[in-house]
Structures are given as structure tokens and as C-alpha cells.
Amino acid sequence: MPAVVENDVLVYKGSNFFRQRLLLATLSGRAVKIDEIRSTHDDPGLREYEVNLIRLLDKVTNGTRVELSETGTSVYFQPGILIGGHVTHSCCPQRGIGYYLEVLLALGPFCKEPLNAVLQGVTHSDLDVSVDKIKAAALPILLKFILVDDGLELKVVRRGAPPLGGGEVVFKCPVRRHLRPLQWTKWGLVKRIRGVVYALRVSPTMANRVVDSAKGVMLKFLPDVYINTDQCRGSNAGKSPGYGVSLVAETNEKTFYCAEAKSSEPGSGETSLPEDIGRECAQRLLDEVYRGGAVDSSFQWLLALWMALGQKDVSECIVGPLSDYTITFLQHLKEFFGVMFKLEVQRSDADEELDDEEEVTAANKIKMTCVGIGYVNISKRTL
């Protein structure tokens, strides 16, 4: 749904893509109004986690103005200037830390002070990317744009499984005046697979069983597979029981694909076998590898964002098939920044040859080309 512009305020409807809209509003400095938030639901208005997100944005900015309607079904958000600095935030356990961390990651390079955020809550959630995944797959993308890693760091202090959470991460991000244009059209071949299995408040054997099954699948493709187990105890294990795995495939061109799987929540009534979890995760990783592209499919939008915010130069990257989320994000980018990507489907010749023989076809690669809008970090101080 394209936005309606009323006196330079973008007006949207519905609660979906709330995070995207607030994030882009903060970066672009344009006010945004979101109407009809769950207006037809039994429980109308903003959810707790969304309010929590607004709080977080308020913490990292200065001069933000938020107006909520009485019913909570409409929000007016006028962004201020990104400040960054030291932020401690306890995230809502309804969503994972990843929900908030992705926002901070996108905002991080454009703050006034280097960001040093402590986030508490659920580190591994079904709906959101886990902190492990962000650490493994998203940080290398940012590194491509800022080139020099001075203080880009994500540390998982404690893990916390849903529903109660109790995990903690520390995220540090340097600031930049502008991002450099990026050409990233090769992603290479997978050279190694690493992984972490965590087990919180469950028997340590669970972890080992997950490792076995995941490794069993991955070894059919590559011998270089190492999976660590992270058996947490005491306060480090968070407040709820749970276990899960995340696997990372690294290519020889520094592309990281990451997949994860976790046990179902304790209250949900389903039981999950560790072997299934391991296999599922491995299958997902293979799926990710099949899709290919320069970045993991969950972070296509981050790539698009940073490409669009670059200097007034051409950036081009090849990614796997676009996810729905990315497509919406590209639409939002057009509305907030007026930047449009040139998208082309890439197909190598060899794939077409193979088409006839095999039923499995290659995943379409999409070449994204755009001219950066010349975004500069206006909040950074010069002396």
C-alpha cells in the first residue's frame, strides 16, 4: 500500500511493517503517521513490543515527538536527531532482541556518538532473527560498507529463551560520516560451516543430539563442519528452558549464510526432538545456500538500505530471490528517500542448460543496482 502524503507527512495504514516505517522515518527525518493499527481486532492498538520499540527509538534520538491516539490505533511519529551513545534497554519478551537489534544495526553508523547498547530480553525467538544470526551474517555486511572495523562488536552476554527471556547482549557500533558505495557481485563457494548449539535449562545431551543430526546432514556436502555447544548454567541460562541451533556457512568471498532452528516454547504443547531440530536447521541452511546471493536472505533489506544511503555513486549487488519483506522495504525506500533500484534477474547460461535435464532449477539471482542518495550523517560532530 503506497503511502498518502499530507503536508510532507507520510500516512500509512495497518500495523504491519511498523518497524520499517519508524526506522526509515528516523533516518530520513520525515514525519510519519500510521493509522488503523489493528482497528478491527479484538485487541486493538499497538502491542507492547511496538511501544517498546518507540521507547528504544526515543532513547537513541533527541527531539523525537510521538503522539498516540487514545485508542492506540494511530501513531504520529516525528523523528529527532540520532544521538546514540550508551543505551540500556529491556526489550519486550513478546519479540526477540533481534527485532530491536536490527533497528539499532541500521541506525548505528549514523549516530552522533558511537552506539553502545545493552539489550535485555529474549535472544532467540521464532519470529525474529536471533542474535547469533545477526552476529554471524549481518555484521559482515555492515563491515563491507564501513570498511574499517573500529569497534563494531556484538557480544552475547547471556542467552534467554522465550517466553521469559532473561538474555543480554551488548552491541557496539562505530559512527561514519557516509557509507561507501559497494559492488558485490560475487559470493563464491561455501568453504566452511560453523555452528553453535545452545541449551538453556535443559539436559546437556540435548545439545549433543542436535550436533549429531545437524552434522550428519552437513557432512554430506562439506567435510569442514564444526559445531560448538553452549551449555549455559545459572543466571547465564536465562529464565526459560529451551535449546536451539544456528549454523553458519562461510564462502570464500566472505559471504555468510545463516540458518537456525529452535525448540518450541514450553507452554505451546508441542514437543520437539533434538534430532529434528538439527536436521531442520541443516536443511534450512542448505536452502539458504541454494538461494545464494551476496547476503543472507533475511538481511537483504539491510543491504538495500545501506546501498541506498551511500554516496551519490552506483552500488550494485547480486542477491538471491527477494523476500516479501525486502520487496516491501524497497517500496518504503522509494517513498521515504525517493530512491529506486534497478532490479534485474540474472541467469547464468549453465543453469539454462541444466534446466532441461533436471527438475531442480537454479534459484534466480537478482542484481540490485542503485544510485545512493548521498546520505550524510548529519548528527556527527566535527571539531
Binding site: P223, L286, V345, T369
Partner: protein, 1136 residues
């Protein structure tokens, strides 16, 4: 032994010195010295003599190189650059207009009657220039400095440099220095040759100190028949046409347009009703700087921030000549385009053709006096327009009560008539299922349908190869979930079915997505309009089509409904960035053998493509090395005795090709390999055979790499969109510099049109992200050393920053050592200080200049002298400020205990005290303390502790910092809206001083600071009291003789009072009487004796004197006698 060996020595070989062999050898050894450098001929002369000197030389060379290096910037000049803006600047009456006229004449050989506004001319095969004259207004000077590429700075040599020139140079320095050429005119006014020479020299040197050493200064020696000398102008024009430009950082990040044409597009009717109604204005000009994005905010200097409501490009009115192979410009290619001056021939617009009638035709549409002829002409022009418009307007209904269909809906004039096929998504958003295309017109007219079918593709359809296939697949993809929807819509048990099918559906959709998504652009940007249509229009259309029921066309209704339903479904979902967001599809089993086969090559263990595989590459190398061997075909392995024949080899080759067939890329041909090898060899040669390589060289690889990277990027920037459809290219890239654009602005104040003056430049600068916002800007600033006054905090100041000129209230501050901004009341004299104001957000390091007035009142200018008050650059942007002012709170002791004291008068209430609990305080004498707690009575008093006992006379301070707020005042200078005569007299907020002077208000003197006589009481010191203990040890003479119990009992009068009266008995009285008499007698006697002695002494003295006199007399006579005798003796001698 030695002898023996000498004896044993064989006869040495003696080379032939003559004959055939000797000649041969000589020839062989003879090198051709003619080609060699001196270094090669005589290498010893160039050998390093001294290591130290060599090191110094090397270092110096490296220093020189390093000084020349700049951070490589990506070159952003487009293939067809916009005309270069050449601004002619100078004080009035120096000959600016004459120079422009002469330049135009020299370039295109025509006379131009009036020079208003920018004049664009083609000067050479690859260069166009826009000449613009700057009038004598500081606003125009600022705007010109912001956009000019080359400035011709005119100066009257007979007068010398005027203040305007220095002002302009300073403006330039702040906003990015364009190229500046000085031009001296009126040289013929100086008659004396020697003074002329001297003037030239002094002016040249003064100019050099301002610009740079060796800056070009032209001399126009005089005017003949109202024109400058032809060869001098020719020279100047040559200089202009070869001038090179350096990118300026502000202009390399912002796009801008110098408008050279203005039109009022408001309908005459509304103007007639209300002449003050806000106008719709169209401005035209070349895009410069960086590409101009479509929906962008711009700032029109002198008007304010505006949103471009329509932006499109037009064919170039002054195009560069086509690239024919000719050396010179054809006569007809020497074009001129100057709408404001009334030259430029025929102009094509989007919807009209304008014919410029030279000189007689003015572009002001709102002339006060419109005579009949003009009205008639206007009518004619308007009617030609309206025929088109009528065509456009004429809609028709297909069914009664159905929608009215306009030709607009069918045929959208995109950017131009020529690219008709770039059509935006049609107004009636019909998603037809039978046909693959999304944008289909249900118009019902045969003709238009045909047209539609022809021009039915979106701009991006062009680049994807097979359209039919495309649309088919995308259509299928779209339809799959939709049809499912439809079914479920029909069925009543909507929920259950839907949920059952959820995962299945997701899986399907997922595979579909992976398979197809060829026309990905449409999938993503399908909902946006591509073209000139504005969003509002589209929205209206949408509403229309939603509301109306068009009889018979059911397809449309269902489609829109479906779309709505889909949107609704998505509206309140949970946000999730995973690829398969909420529903989890069943992923393919990748361990299955068939699937695995495909995936295996994505790992390093799998097969690689031909250009990556190591073994393949090795094979290739072998093959290319074997080129020579292949000449022989077959050979024999001697060791094994095996024979290899050519046929054998062919076989293996065949086998190889079969093998490689399965691989991803075919083997490169021999020629390719040869090419590659040659390249490698060339590279090697370049590295090693460089004749100049004997010198020691520094390592510049870092710099070289940076340069190469920038070059690569600029090539990519130029090439990547080259063969893209024009409409899409503009959408993706923006309107690149060099395009001639038409910008429609809505709701511009009517004064802009009614008070339009073409001599004022209209500069339209785009604002980047967040630059349209307003915040607190903090910058460093320095008062200009030529400005006479110092600047006062909160006095209004006009600032030129970025594209804008505005008035604001600045606060000056100084950064203390603890990084606190301390408020300053005035700017310091010769150092930079900080300045904070409320104004537009602008990127850091942008330069600005400040003026106190932009008024051109000559009296005011004369009084000021130099108008630029301060210059500086932006440091930081924020939404709040932290400026503090020192505040001392003063109190006095109420009661003092040992180290605790009660302090009063510092605060007025207990609450205030509570806020300051724990604060540090200090007495004047330096005793430090702390505020503890408030007292009940009196209000505002508190308990405090000190490091020592304080005195009642002490004054106690509390040093605090008071936050000063920056006033939120921001007023753009809207000089373009002012009436024609007073455009240079913009008056903003006045300073307090100005107001007081105007209204003759005298401020009352503060009585505290008045002079009063100081009365000083004499200081009374307290008496010295020596403690008893100390007294004991003192010697007697130091002991205080009179003992007094109280401190004040030492008064001598009191002592007398305390004396007891002495009463004598008669005997004692007698005795004392007798004693008194005796004493008196004795004293009398002594007196008489004293007198007698004096008498005696006198006589004695006389006696002595008489004796002396006698003695002297005797001596004198004696001397006389002696002398006489001596002289007698002397007389006798000569006789003897």
C-alpha cells in the same frame, strides 16, 4: 716454484683484430648509442656519490609529489555536461553589460539588444556557456557565487578595487571558490603610460593576494565605438572556452538549477477573481551538480522551501552540435537561448510551442498595460493550446451512468511525445487474468485498444528479453494465490479451509517465487507511477474506479476487490524479516540425491566454473605453452620408447571437450589465451623495461589504488544505466546534470510573479535528506577582520548557509576546557568562537557567512564599509542546545558554630535549597564547604559545613551554571518577493540598538554604576595585648608598665583623673618657696653670665681679626720686596 709456473703458463688467446670474424664481432658488440639516454651511455656519472644527499633528494622529491596529491574524488561530470555558468560581477558602471554583449558577439556573431537573465550559448563542439550578469545587490552576489563556475570579476582600473569586489571574493571563499578571472576595464582613462603600468602592477598584485599567486587578470584597454577591442575579447573568449574546473564539495552533493525561464501556469480566471491568489509557476533550467531526484524538496533562493510538484525534462533548447567529424562549429550550430532577454527562436514545451519575437516580446505575463495587440496575440496563442486541451478534455461515456473515459487515461504523455511507449500504469488499475499484462485498458474503443496493446508495456519491460513469457509467468504467479483466495472467499467456512491450505499455499508460493520473478521491477514498483503523473491524480482515479460500477465490466471490480482484500490481509500481520515470513513451507529435502546434485557445486568441494577451477587453468596453461610443440604434432618419449601421435592427442582433446562440456563454461579459444598472455607480457614489460626505472622510487601504491578505485567508480556510474530506457533511467538515477528540465511549483506567492525581475538570478537548489528540517545549528565563527563592529549575542543576523539566506538570532559561546559551552555576550575580537542558532539542518563543514543587513541603502553601506560581518562553518546539528552562563549565588552567615554555619539570603525557598543540597560553596577568603540541609526558619536559609570556621563578615558563594536557550527564530530572506524597486531593501528583524536609535529611546543609567565619592574612615587599630605568660618571660623594659584590666583603660586623661591631690604643710610650703626663689635666682645669674661671655667673645674675635690683618699686610710687603729684588736680579743678567 714461481718461475716454474710462469714458465708453464700457456700462450694466451689473442683475438683476431682484422678480417671477417673480427668485423662480425665488432658489429655484434657495437650498440646503437644514438637511442640511449645519457644515463645509459655513461652510467657512472649518475651513480650515487653520497648516500646522504641521495636520501635528501629522494625525500624532497617525495615531498613534492605528496604535496600534489589530493584525495581522489569520483568524477561526476556527465557525458553531456550542462552549460558552464560564467558570471560577470563587478560594481556598477564598470562595463559588465558591454562585456557580455561583446562576448556573445564574438562567440555567435549576433548582437543582442538586451541582456536580462542567463544567456546560454554554444561556444564550441563540446562546450556551452551560460552568461549571467550580477547586479549590484549583495543577495544576487551571494546567489551568483553559489552557482557560478567561472567568474569574470570586472574592475574599473581608473578607480581601483571597490568594496564590492572584496565582498564578492569573500562570499566565494565561503561557498566554494569558483574559478575567478579578473578583468580590468577603463584603462583608457589613465593617460600617463607610467601610471598605467604602475596601476596595472599594483592591481595585479592586490588581486593575487586575494585569489592566488598568478591568477589571471585581463586588461581591456579601452572602448572603441562602445565596444572593447576585438582581439582582447577574442583572447578572453579563448580563455573561457578552455577553462578547466575543479569539483566543489557542496555542488558535488547537491543538484541545482539556475532558472532561465519562468511561466505562470495559474488559470487566468482565478487570477481575475483574486489577484493575490497563490500561483502555479513553471521554472525551466539545466540540471547541474548531481542528478536531481524526482520527489525532492528544493529551496528557491529568495523565495523559500518548495516541493517540486511536477518535474519533467524537455529537449535541449540549445543543444550541442551532433558529433559530426568537423573541426569547427557550423553557423547554424552556434545557438543562443535567452528567454528573459527575448532571444532563442522557437521553444518547444510539453504542451505548447513558443516563438520568441526578438526584442519586442516580453515574458512577463502580467504586464500592467496590456495593449490590444498583445491581447490579440495572446488569444491566438491560447486558442492553439486549447484545441489540444479540448481534445484532452473531451471524454465520453460508454454506458449511461458509466465512467467517463478521457483520452488522458489511454494516452499518457509521458515525458515527451517521442517516447510514447513508456507508459505508466494505466489509471484504471485492472488486473486482468486472461491476459498476462497487469495494466490493461478496459476502454471499449477499438482504436485505443490497439494503441494500448502497442504501448502497453512498462518502461522496464524493455530490458527483460522475452516479454510474452515474462508477463505470462508473472501473471501466473500473481494469480495462483489470488484464485485460491477467490475460492475461499466464495466458501463460507473461510477460516478452516484457509488455514489448512496455509502451509501448502506458502510452499507453492515460495517455489513460484524462486522459479519466476522475472519481471521483478513490476513486482516491486508496480504500485508506483512511472512518468509525469502525480500521486493525487492516481489516487483519485483509484477512488473513482472503486466507487463506480461500470456496467458489464465485472472483471475490474473483482480485481480491485481482490487487491483490497489482499492488502487488508497483510495490513496487520506481524512483521518478520525472514524469507518465508510467518507460514513455514516444507523445504525441499536437500539430502535427496537429485537435489543434492545441484547443490553440491555451491561448495568448494564441488566442481568449479572453468575460469576458476585450478586444474582447468593448469590445463589451459599447458595448452597455451604447448602451442609451439603442436607444430611438430607427434613426438617420441625416448625413455619409455612410447610413440605419441597427433591422432592420439586429438582423441584426448576430444575427451577433454566432452568432459568440460559438463562444466559451466566452455574452454577459451586459443586466441583468447594468446590475448591473455600478451597482456601479461605487456604488464611485465611495463614493469621491468622502463628505462627510467633506475631511479629509486617511492611507493605510491596506496594513492594509486585509491585513484584507480575512484576512476572505476566513475566509469561504473557513467556506464551502468547507459542503455536503460530513458523513463526508467530517470526514475532510477534521477534527472542527470545536463538535462533541461521543467519544474512546476504550486502555491508560490503571487508576488513572485507580479514583482518578477529577470536581472535577479533564480537559483533552485535541491535539499538532501533531512535538510528541509529545522534544528539547532552550532558552528564555529569568526568576526571578519574588516568588519568594524563586534557582534552581540541575540542581535539578529542574516546568514547565508547552503542554498539559503535567512535571518536568525545567534548566541555566541566559547568551549571551555571541560567541553562546556559558555555563553559569551559579544564575539571575541580576533579568535573564533562558537555560534548557535535555530535554523535549517545543514551538513557539517558547510561554510556560511553572516551579514547584519542586506539593505543596499548607500548611507548604510558607507557607514558599514565592509558588509560581511562574520564567516564560519557548521560543526554540529542537534535538536537542543547546551549553552550555559555562569551564575553566582551569594549568601551571608546567620549563625556560626565551629565548622557549621547557617547561611541566609542565598535562596528564597526550602525547595530551592533542596535542589542544591550537596552543592559546593565557598567563602570569599577561600574556605570551601557544602550545602547540607534547609532550615525551617527563615525561609531559604540552610545549614552548611565548611573546612574551617568562617566569620560573620564572610560572604558565601555558590557557583552554578545557568542554561541559556536559543530563541527559535528563523526567517528566510524573501527578497525576490519584494516589489521591483526595493528588491535590494529587505528588512528583517531590527536590532535593539537600531530600534532605540530610531525611536530615540535612551536607556536609564544604572545608579549602581554611577560615580560617587568614596569616604574612608581612619583605621583604628586595636591595642596590643601581650598574654600574661609571655609577659613573664620578657625583660623588664619590654614589659608593659601600666597595668590595666580592661582593654580601654589606657587613656592618659583617665590617668590624670585617677591621681590623688597632694596637700603640703606650711614648713614644706616655705621650703618649696625658698627652693623656688633660689632656682629663679640661679637661673637669672646664669643668664647674665651667658651675656657676659658673649660680649667677651665678641671683643676677642675682633682682636683676633686685627692681628690677622696685620700679619697679612706684613706678608704682602715682604712678598713685594722679594719680587722687586728678584726682578732686579733678572734685569742684570742680560747685561752680563
Amino acid at each position: 716454484m714461481a718461475d716454474e709456473s710462469a714458465f708453464d703458463k700457456k700462450k694466451a688467446h689473442r683475438a683476431k683484430r682484422a678480417g671477417r670474424k673480427a668485423d662480425k664481432k665488432k658489429k655484434k658488440n657495437q650498440t646503437d648509442t644514438s637511442n640511449l639516454s645519457a644515463r645509459q651511455r655513461n652510467p657512472k656519472a649518475f651513480a650515487i656519490q653520497s648516500a646522504v644527499r641521495a636520501e635528501r633528494q629522494f625525500r624532497r622529491r617525495e615531498d613534492v609529489i605528496a604535496k600534489k596529491q589530493h584525495v581522489p574524488q569520483v568524477d561526476k561530470t556527465p557525458l553531456e555536461p550542462p552549460p558552464i555558468i560564467v558570471a560577470v560581477v563587478g560594481p556598477p558602471r564598470v562595463g559588465k553589460t558591454t562585456l557580455i554583449n561583446n562576448l556573445i558577439k564574438s562567440f555567435i556573431k549576433t548582437n543582442v539588444t538586451s541582456t536580462n537573465g542567463p544567456i546560454t550559448i554554444v561556444t564550441s563542439k563540446k562546450r556551452r556557456i551560460t552568461l549571467i550578469e550580477c547586479n549590484n545587490d549583495i543577495n544576487s552576489m551571494i546567489d551568483i557565487a553559489k552557482c557560478a563556475d567561472l567568474v569574470l570579476l570586472l574592475c574599473d582600473a581608473s578607480f581601483g578595487f571597490e568594496m564590492e569586489i572584496f565582498e564578492f571574493l569573500n562570499i566565494c571563499q565561503v561557498h566554494g571558490m569558483p574559478k575567478i578571472m579578473g578583468v580590468l576595464t577603463h584603462l583608457d582613462m589613465i593617460k600617463n603610460a607610467k601610471t598605467l603600468k604602475m596601476t596595472k602592477k599594483t592591481l595585479k598584485h592586490r588581486f593575487w593576494t586575494e585569489v592566488y599567486q598568478g591568477a589571471k587578470l585581463f586588461y581591456l584597454s579601452g572602448i572603441v565605438h562602445g565596444e572593447y577591442l576585438r582581439n582582447e575579447i577574442k583572447n578572453l573568449s579563448r580563455f573561457i572556452s578552455v577553462m578547466k574546473f575543479r569539483p566543489l564539495s557542496w555542488r558535488m552533493t547537491h543538484s541545482y538549477v539556475l532558472a532561465d525561464r519562468m511561466e505562470d501556469a495559474t488559470s487566468q480566471e482565478t487570477i481575475r477573481k483574486d489577484p493575490k491568489v497563490n500561483r502555479d509557476v513553471i521554472l525551466y533550467g539545466y540540471v547541474r551538480g548531481v542528478p536531481l531526484m524526482k520527489e525532492t524538496m528544493v529551496h528557491i533562493a529568495g523565495v523559500g522551501d518548495m516541493k517540486v510538484s511536477e518535474l519533467s525534462y524537455l529537449p535541449d533548447p540549445c543543444p550541442l552540435p551532433s558529433s559530426e567529424k568537423k573541426r569547427h562549429l557550423m553557423e547554424r550550430e552556434r545557438q543562443i537561448y535567452a528567454p528573459f532577454s527575448g532571444v532563442g527562436g522557437i521553444v518547444y514545451d510539453k504542451d505548447a510551442v513558443y516563438i520568441e519575437l526578438k526584442g519586442s516580446h516580453s515574458h512577463k505575463q502580467e504586464d500592467e498595460e496590456t495593449n490590444e495587440k498583445k491581447a490579440l496575440l495572446k488569444n491566438v496563442v491560447e486558442t492553439t493550446e486549447t484545441i489540444d486541451e479540448q481534445m484532452q478534455e473531451s471524454g465520453f461515456k460508454l454506458f449511461s451512468g458509466g465512467a467517463v473515459i478521457y483520452p488522458d487515461m489511454l494516452k499518457n504523455d509521458e515525458y515527451l511525445q517521442q517516447n510514447k511507449n513508456n507508459q505508466p500504469e494505466s489509471s484504471d488499475n485492472s488486473d486482468s487474468e486472461e491476459e498476462g499484462s497487469d495494466s490493461d485498458h478496459d476502454s471499449g474503443i477499438d482504436q485505443s485498444e490497439k494503441e494500448a496493446a502497442k504501448s502497453d508495456k512498462m518502461p522496464w519491460d524493455n530490458d527483460s528479453g522475452d516479454e510474452g513469457d515474462n508477463n505470462q509467468s508473472s501473471g501466473e504467479e500473481d494469480n495462483q494465490p489470488e484464485s485460491e483466495n477467490e475460492e475461499s472467499d466464495n466458501e463460507q467456512n473461510f477460516d478452516n479451509k484457509w488455514k489448512e491450505k496455509l502451509s501448502e499455499k506458502a510452499t507453492e508460493a515460495y517455489f513460484e517465487r524462486q522459479k519466476t520473478s522475472r519481471n521483478i521491477m513490476k513486482l516491486v514498483y508496480g504500485e508506483f507511477e512511472i512518468g509525469n503523473k502525480t500521486k493525487e491524480q492516481k489516487q483519485d482515479d483509484d477512488d473513482e474506479s472503486d466507487d463506480e460500477e461500470i456496467g458489464g465490466l465485472f472483471k475490474k471490480v473483482t480485481a480491485t476487490q481482490k487487491k483490497k482484500l489482499k492488502d487488508k490481509e497483510r495490513l496487520d500481520l506481524d512483521e518478520c524479516s525472514f524469507f518465508y515470513s510467518l507460514e513455514k513451507p516444507n523445504i525441499r529435502d536437500w539430502t535427496a540425491e537429485a537435489n543434492k546434485q545441484y547443490l553440491i557445486n555451491s561448495f568448494v568441494t564441488g566442481k568449479r566454473s572453468a575460469d576458476e577451477d585450478a586444474s582447468e587453468l593448469l590445463k589451459l596453461d599447458d595448452a597455451s605453452d604447448g602451442d609451439d610443440e603442436e607444430l611438430y604434432g607427434d613426438f617420441e618419449d625416448l625413455e619409455t620408447g612410447e610413440k605419441h601421435s597427433a591422432e592420439d592427442k586429438d582423441e584426448t582433446e576430444e575427451a577433454e571437450t566432452v568432459e568440460t562440456g559438463t562444466k559451466r563454461k566452455a574452454e577459451p579459444t586459443k586466441s583468447e589465451i594468446l590475448d591473455k598472455k600478451m597482456k601479461l607480457k605487456a604488464k611485465f614489460d611495463a614493469e621491468y623495461d622502463n628505462p627510467d626505472d633506475h631511479r629509486i622510487k617511492g611507493d605510491h601504491s596506496y594513492y594509486e589504488n585509491l585513484k584507480a578505485e575512484a576512476l572505476k567508480q566513475s566509469e561504473l556510474n557513467k556506464s551502468v544505466f547507459e542503455n536503460l530506457d530513458e523513463g526508467l533511467r530517470i526514475e532510477v538515477e534521477g534527472f542527470r546534470p545536463g538535462l533541461y528540465v521543467r519544474m512546476l511549483f504550486k502555491n508560490i506567492p503571487s508576488e513572485f510573479v507580479t514583482n518578477f525581475d529577470s536581472t535577479y538570478p533564480i537559483l533552485i537548489g535541491s535539499l538532501n535528506m533531512a535538510e528541509q528540517n529545522i534544528g539547532f545549528v552550532s558552528c564555529k565563527v569568526k568576526k571578519h577582520r574588516w568588519y568594524k563592529k563586534i557582534l552581540k549575542t541575540n542581535d539578529p543576523l542574516i546568514i547565508s548557509l547552503g542554498w539559503r539566506r535567512f535571518q536568525t538570532l545567534p548566541i555566541y559561546s566559547k568551549i571551555e576546557d571541560d567541553l562546556k559551552c559558555r555563553y559569551l555576550k559579544y564575539t571575541p575580537e580576533h579568535v573564533t568562537c562558537n555560534m548557535h542558532f535555530y535554523g535549517p539542518v545543514t551538513p557539517q563543514n558547510t561554510g556560511f557567512l553572516a551579514l547584519q543587513t542586506v539593505n543596499n541603502n548607500p548611507n548604510e553601506i558607507k557607514q558599514l564599509g565592509f558588509r560581511i560581518a562574520a564567516t564560519g562553518s557548521v560543526n554540529e546539528i542537534n535538536k537542543s542546545t547546551q549553552i550555559v552562563k555562569k551564575l553566582k549565588l551569594v549568601g551571608t552567615p546567620l549563625k556560626i558554630y565551629k565548622k557549621t554555619a547557617f547561611i541566609k539570603d542565598m535562596f528564597t525557598s526550602t525547595l530551592e535549597v533542596a535542589k542544591f543540597e550537596g552543592a559546593r560553596i565557598k567563602t570569599v577568603s577561600g574556605i570551601r564547604g557544602q550545602i547540607k540541609k534547609a532550615l525551617n526558619k527563615p525561609e531559604g536559609a540552610f545549614r552548611a559545613t565548611f573546612e574551617d570556621k568562617i566569620l560573620m563578615s564572610d560572604i558565601i558563594f555558590c557557583r552554578t551554571w545557568f542554561k541559556v536557550d536559543v530563541t527559535k527564530f528563523y526567517a528566510p530572506v524573501v527578497n525576490l518577493l519584494l516589489p521591483a524597486g526595493s528588491k535590494n531593501a529587505w528588512q528583517g528583524m531590527k536590532t535593539k540598538g537600531q530600534l532605540k536609535r530610531e525611536r530615540n529611546i535612551k536607556s536609564d543609567a544604572n545608579t549602581d554604576s554611577m560615580y560617587t565619592d568614596i569616604k574612608r574612615e581612619p583605621k583604628v587599630f586595636k591595642p596590643l595585648v601581650i598574654p600574661k605568660e609571655l609577659q613573664k618571660g620578657l625583660p623588664y623594659r619590654f614589659k608593659p608598665k601600666q597595668k590595666s584590666t580592661t582593654l580601654s583603660g589606657n587613656n592618659p586623661k583617665d590617668k590624670l583623673k585617677n591621681r590623688i591631690a597632694v596637700v603640703k604643710n606650711p614648713h614644706e610650703q616655705k621650703v618649696s618657696n625658698v627652693m623656688k626663689m633660689i632656682k629663679t635666682n640661679f637661673e637669672k645669674k646664669k643668664e647674665i653670665q651667658k651675656e657676659a661671655t658673649q660680649e667677651r667673645l665678641k671683643t676677642h674675635k675682633k682682636q683676633l681679626e686685627a692681628e690677622e690683618w696685620k700679619r697679612l699686610k706684613r706678608q704682602k710687603e715682604l712678598k713685594k720686596k722679594i719680587c722687586r729684588t728678584l726682578s732686579k736680579m733678572g734685569k742684570k743678567k742680560p747685561q752680563m
